[in-house]
Every structure is written in structure tokens, then in C-alpha cells.
Symmetry: C2
Subunit: 312 residues, 2 copies
């Protein structure tokens, strides 16, 4: 039984991680500023003796006593992180420094929720952990991509110089219930559009690809990584790759909708291909995704069906 801090714990991924760690009997503290997270995502734990929720911005120092830190606080969807680029970059840089300072002081282990975006618009395919990436340092996505890259750099600086135990998860596209209605990422957009009978908006040609993992697989991977002795970065993602156009069709079919698929303007610097090489996670963590895309989509569609109803 451990004292575990989850920054960003009221968000999509964080709240599922809370559920798993609470179910495992740990003491869980969530720190969140509710920028994209919602109390609703963790409200079922409020009042539980092992659970605490702190309304706090990680850009400010935090003094608590914990054994492990899952550092997830950061807006994750392009419209959210581009909404206030200065805030995004402060969250990743100062926020991560603060959490590393905390980890150092209390000798906690810190896991950084990094991202496949550190590989940028990759020139190697699939991406393994040795790849240095192809990122535009001054493009519209830079506040997020470079923020996460420098957060990784900071982790290894504290690891080397201050013996902080760090874990770095490079998370690939993840979906599931509790994604924000206005999240703006592809899965939620396409599902909501299909449920509402609105046109599915494919940005650009739709030939760009992504690989989508269901959130419960990610949560299992994060916990396995945290409790492993692998301090170097590890990809966590589902290697099943689809083009965005295929994905639009899959979602439409699954919902049985008859809305049209339209092509709108391409997003600037949109990565053209993305697929994790998960050899490292398989070999060293004995982890791999187990939820089939169709099952994950089913659960996510059920969730959004309720959300859309609530709105109406």
C-alpha cells in the first residue's frame, strides 16, 4: 500500500488510473487545476478515506509527502494545448521541474506521461524508443511537443544529478470513456459527429495514420512501468495502425450511422504516420494491449451516447 500522487488525475487518463489504484487499495491524491479535467471523473471517490483531491496548479510548488508520482498534468488534445500555448509550455516545463523537486525532496519515484509527439512527424516507421524525432521547434504544436521533450530532458537531469527515480512513458493515441465532449481529438469528434448525424470532418486527405489504444490497456502499462526498474523511455501504445479515413468508416459502421465523411483543411504540421514499436514494453514489462479496437470503441460509443443525451 503506497501513497500515490496523480497530477492531472481529474482528466481522461488520470481518472482511469485513479480507479485502478484505488481498487488496488492505495492512498491516492489527485492534484488538478480542472483546466480540461472535471470533478465528475473522480466524484465516485470523493469521501473515500483513501482519496484526496487538491485543486492546485502544478506551475506552483507543491509540498506533500508521497511514495510515487504519476505526473500527467498537461492538456493533451491539440485544440486544448493550442488554446493557451504559454500556459501549456509553463505546465510542461515549470510544472515538471516542480514535480521533480518534490520527488527529490520526498524521495518519491516519478513517472512522466510523455507522448509519441516527441517523435513529431516521424521519418522512421514504426517508432522505437531510440528514434530522436522530427519536431518543428517553432510550429503550432511546439508548445506541446517541445514541452514534453524538455520535460523528458529534465527527468533525466534529475535522475543523473539527484538520483531521482524516473520512469518515462511515451504514450500513443489513447481513447475511451471520459474523453471530454469538446476534446477535439479524432475519436471523440468522429463518434459525436456520427451520433448526431453530422458530417465526419477528416482533416486533409485522411491518408495520415494513427494507432489507437484503449485506456485500460494504457493504465495497465503505466502501472507496470512505474513498478518496473526500467528508467529509460518506454512506448505504450497499440501497434494496430489505421488511416484516419479508415477510422472514420470504422466508427460510422460501428454506430450504424449514415452521415457523410467530408475532407476539410489539413492541420498544420500534422504527423503523417504514427505507430509504436512496442518491443521494449513487451520484452521488459511483459505488457501489450489486449482490448480489441472494436470492443474499446463499443464502450466509448456507449459513453458518448449518454453524454450526448445529457446535453439534449
Amino acid at each position: 500500500r503506497k501513497r500515490i500522487l496523480i497530477t492531472g488525475g481529474a482528466g481522461f487518463v488520470g481518472s482511469h488510473l485513479v480507479d485502478r489504484l484505488m481498487a488496488d487499495g492505495h492512498e491516492v491524491t489527485v492534484v488538478d487545476n480542472f483546466f480540461t479535467g472535471r470533478k465528475r471523473n473522480v466524484e465516485h471517490w470523493i469521501g473515500h478515506q483513501n482519496f484526496e483531491m487538491i485543486n492546485h496548479d502544478v506551475v506552483n510548488p507543491l509540498m506533500i509527502e508521497v511514495d510515487q508520482i504519476y505526473h500527467l498534468a498537461c492538456p493533451a488534445s491539440p485544440p486544448h494545448y493550442m488554446y493557451n500555448p504559454i500556459k501549456t509550455i509553463k505546465t510542461s516545463s515549470i510544472g515538471t521541474l516542480n514535480m521533480l523537486g518534490l520527488a527529490r525532496r520526498v524521495k518519491a519515484r516519478l513517472l512522466l506521461a510523455s507522448t509519441s509527439e516527441v517523435y513529431g512527424d516521424p521519418e522512421e516507421h514504426p517508432q522505437n524508443e531510440e528514434y530522436w524525432g522530427h519536431v518543428n521547434p517553432i510550429g503550432p504544436r511546439a508548445c506541446y511537443d517541445e514541452g514534453k521533450r524538455v520535460a523528458e530532458t529534465m527527468c533525466y537531469a534529475y535522475a543523473k544529478q539527484e538520483n531521482v527515480e524516473v520512469r518515462v512513458a511515451r504514450i500513443f493515441n489513447t481513447f475511451g470513456p471520459r474523453m471530454h465532449m469538446n476534446d477535439g481529438r479524432v475519436v471523440s469528434n468522429f463518434i459525436i459527429q456520427s451520433l448526431k448525424g453530422e458530417p465526419i470532418t477528416v482533416y486533409g486527405s485522411g491518408k495520415q495514420s494513427r494507432s489507437f489504444q484503449y485506456v485500460s490497456d494504457l493504465v495497465a502499462g503505466l502501472i507496470a512501468l512505474m513498478n518496473s526498474d526500467i528508467s529509460s523511455p518506454v512506448n505504450l501504445g497499440n501497434p494496430e495502425e489505421h488511416t484516419i479515413m479508415e477510422f472514420a468508416q470504422i466508427i460510422k459502421d460501428k454506430i450504424g450511422a449514415d452521415n457523410e465523411i467530408i475532407n476539410v483543411d489539413a492541420a498544420q504540421d500534422d504527423p503523417q504516420r504514427r505507430k509504436p514499436d512496442i518491443t521494449k514494453a513487451k520484452t521488459l514489462l511483459h505488457w501489450e494491449p489486449v482490448v480489441p479496437l472494436s470492443d474499446g470503441l463499443g464502450k466509448t460509443i456507449d459513453y458518448f451516447r449518454e453524454e450526448v443525451k445529457l446535453l439534449q
Copy 2:
């Protein structure tokens, strides 16, 4: 006549910039924590009515009133920036945020001293400003490279969101008098070794290349860029490229030394080639380097000859 702040103004490049701006009649304030800089470099201005020296670390907020900020504060030589990676990354990230906050408040224009290291170990040659770079986010140089990349990202976030006027100089290898004796960079090392009759230490094969500019050329470029209307990044460097082995020979010959050249261990992640494409600076700033390598080396050797004598 302007009120000009130079962070890192007691360092190698900064002190030459001070000289030029003081000679032009500006009010110059230097902010430096003397990590690698020295009072000696600017002592000839101390007491002058237009000059002020503040002993301050840019990692802490700074409240002053100025029109222009040349933001140079950051250790620049590999041994110096690797000495305390956490401090290096804090200086580039928090330090740059503070100077951007200052620029925003007082509506000053900020020029960031960025670096060719944002291109990393480049896969394009020569490097122009469109190239996204090839940088290891978790390697030994990352505290510097990723620090500068994120500093650029921050500049453009403040430019876009807060209308801060930014200028970004991507500076290529520069040399000249006032380089620190223990700087550890190649020019000072080879000159000092030749003057002392010690072996010249070539790291690795010596086939890796660099392009060296003399400091007065750089200073002219920085001032031209600051006062231009080019807000996108601009390379400042001398496109004359030499291998490190050639360079060892050139310096040895220039000094007329008969010390030997030895190959020692290669540095990790050492960029293999580096040469600026300066089309942009030529076209838009009408700037290009004018000091021949041999003249620049002559002045630098004279300087180190005195320094070595002082030590003896």
C-alpha cells in the same frame, strides 16, 4: 539612444556586445550570475554613467525598465553546461520565461541567443532555418539543446499570444578574445595546448566538421538582427567549414608550434557536420562575416598568449 539589457553580459560574446553598444552611446545594463562570466570582461566600463552591472540569476524574476533585451545568459561550452545539467535547463527554461515576462511587461524587444545546436547532429547540410533538427532529447547534450529549443518555442508563444517582439539568432561556433581559459571548447583548447607545447586533443577521428566565426562578426549580426523586422529565426555564422583535424593543423601552424596531435575518445552524440546556410541573413539583414579565419585566430592567439603568461 536606448536602454539595453544584456543577460550574460559578463561572458565571452556578451562582453563584446557591451563594448559595441556602449561605443554607440546606449545605456547598457548587464545581468549576470558570473557562472562562466567574469567581471574582468566588462571592468573597463565600471563607473561609466551609461553602464550598470547587476549580479542576478535569470532563474529569478527581474524587474527593470528597458527597451531592448539581448538574452544571452546560459553556459555555452559543453563542459560548462554539462557540469550542472539541472541548472542549465532551469536557466534556459525558467530564465527565458522570466525575460519574456519582463519584455511583455515593459514592452521591450527580446533577442534570444539560440544556437546551431537546435539542429543537433544534422542530417541536412548545410543547415538552413527551415530544418527541424536532429536532437537526442535525453542525451548528454540535451540540457543545452532541448533547453534552447524550448526557449525558442517560448519566444514564439509570447510573440503570438502576447505580442512580444522577439528575435531569434541561431548562433554557430564563435571564437575570439575573452573565451574562458577553461572553456573547454575546441578553439581555446587547441590554442592553449599549442602555446603550452602540450598535445592537441582531437576528440574522435577529427573528421567531424565545424564552421567558426569571429566574435566581432557575430556582434554585428546580433545588432543588425535586433534592429531588423525579422521575427523568425536567423542563422548567424561563418560558412567556411573545416574538419577538426584541419583546424588543429591550422592553429598549430599559425602559432608555429611543434606539439603533436593526438586522437582521444570521441564525445557522445557529437554532431558530425555543421555549416550555416546564411542566405537569410545575407538577403534580409545584408549581413555576412568579414573577418578572415586567420586574422581572427591571430587576435585570439595574442589574447591567450597573455592569459597563459598571467598564469605562469
